[in-house]
């Protein structure tokens, strides 16, 4: 005779949900940016492979990480070949040789980079005074591409939240992408959606916007 499995299944499901919500609350510590923010605020959107990551301190004493991407697709902006930018913070603490250690590393929540990874970057304009550059929404504006999926450092949480798009503009695959609540999205469908938003000036024309509250 088979024992009823409902209560036990229910308990395991509740436990799984508890884990999921606990992890989500621990990692969401800043304002979420969504697709409207990423498209509206990025000066460059680049897809490619990170080929070099190094760090240093410039003549003004500003610590930086220097990232070079070999650009395969400039989704926004006129960029080809290699693109190099500097982001605030060292890769790791640096011994200054005088008994002190420079601890100004990449701040928590900012995008981090590894040589060889494929990524999509939504980049802010350069800082006027330092020339430093980083991704829109920090770690939320850098998507790592792997196994045909793209995911940012917030596991795409909130990426499509409070976003409304004229439904006549989207195909089936774009609509499916928009249903993602968290976790990787299909990279081709995501890039297609972003390209259409830029080419069609969806943000500027108000056809893609924040949900009015």
């Amino acid at each position: 005779m088979t024992k009823p499995r409902g209560p036990r299944l229910c308990a395991w499901t509740l436990l799984a949900l508890l884990f999921a919500t606990t992890l989500a609350s621990a990692t969401t510590s800043r304002r979420e940016v969504n697709l409207v923010d990423l498209v509206a605020n990025s000066e460059l959107i680049l897809r490619g492979t990170i080929t070099k990551v190094s760090d240093g301190i410039d003549q003004r004493g500003i610590p930086y990480t220097e990232v070079t991407m070999h650009v395969a697709d400039a989704i926004r902006g006129q960029v080809s070949g290699d693109y190099t930018f500097r982001q605030f913070g060292l890769l790791k603490p640096r011994d200054m040789g005088n008994g002190q250690t420079n601890l100004m590393v990449t701040p928590a929540g900012w995008a981090t980079y590894s040589k060889g990874e494929e990524a999509i970057l939504f980049l802010n304009k350069h800082a006027a005074w330092t020339g430093l550059q980083t991704t829109v929404g920090l770690g939320q504006g850098k998507f790592t591409v792997a196994m045909a999926g793209a995911v940012n450092q917030s596991n795409n949480a909130g990426l499509f939240k409070n976003v409304t798009i004229d439904p006549t503009l989207m195909g089936t695959k774009e609509q499916r992408v928009m249903m993602t609540q968290q976790g990787p999205v299909n990279v081709n469908a995501f890039v297609s959606l972003v390209k259409q938003a830029i080419d069609g000036q969806w943000v500027e024309s108000g056809r893609m916007k924040h949900v009015q509250k």
């Binding site: 606990t22 609350s25 621990a26 003004r60 420079n102 601890l103 100004m104 800082a127 430093l132």
Partner: protein, 186 residues
């Protein structure tokens, strides 16, 4: 698996889940890769805290008709700094004790903006926490290169010797930020 074993397993996992967020929240900001020990302030004496000289923030409140300018003055910022570190220091299980000694003039520093922020960031001014008020958001934009929606940044600057002691750090509190709907943020 027997029913009782299954229940115990569930209980243990539920307990672990309940403590997951605590483990995330309490992680070290910086770990020495050589020794794998966390950098920390020397907690034998309270850490001095200094705050900026200017306004905390100047924003426009678009919820009013017509929109009005709202100024969060230096006293408002100083109050937040004092309360924040007092609350932190009052936690019995926290090892950090911080004393808010006063504004940057105590260290001979001026009002900090994006043109002189390297007087704080990239330079050691002695042991302490230096809280910068980025009244117009220009430090976040013109120095760090981050855009809208980032409320602040905190980072350690200098550590000393093999004890992995942290000497100083800064907190940059950005212009209290107006969100996309024009509402005042915190």
């Amino acid at each position: 698996m027997s029913r009782s074993k299954s229940f115990v397993t569930l209980l243990v996992l539920a307990s672990l889940a309940a403590f997951t967020s605590a483990a995330f929240a309490g992680g070290p900001l910086l770990v020495d890769p050589k020794t794998r020990s966390a950098y920390h302030y020397d907690s034998s004496t309270p850490v001095p805290v200094y705050y900026d000289l200017g306004n905390l923030g100047v924003v426009t409140d678009y919820s009013q008709t017509p929109p009005v300018q709202v100024i969060f003055d230096n006293a408002t910022g100083a109050g937040l700094v004092k309360k924040g570190y007092a609350d932190w220091s009052a936690i019995p299980t926290a090892s950090l004790r911080a004393d808010v000694l006063g504004d940057f003039s105590l260290k001979g520093l001026p009002d900090i903006d994006s043109t002189n922020v390297t007087l704080i960031i990239g330079k050691s001014n002695g042991r302490g926490i230096y809280v910068i008020f980025d009244a117009d958001g220009s430090i976040m934009q013109n120095f760090f290169g981050v855009g809208d929606g980032i409320l602040g940044e905190v980072g350690a600057h200098v550590g000393r010797g093999h004890l992995r002691a942290r000497d100083d750090c800064s907190r940059t509190i950005s212009n209290p930020a107006v969100d996309c709907a024009g509402h005042l943020g915190q």
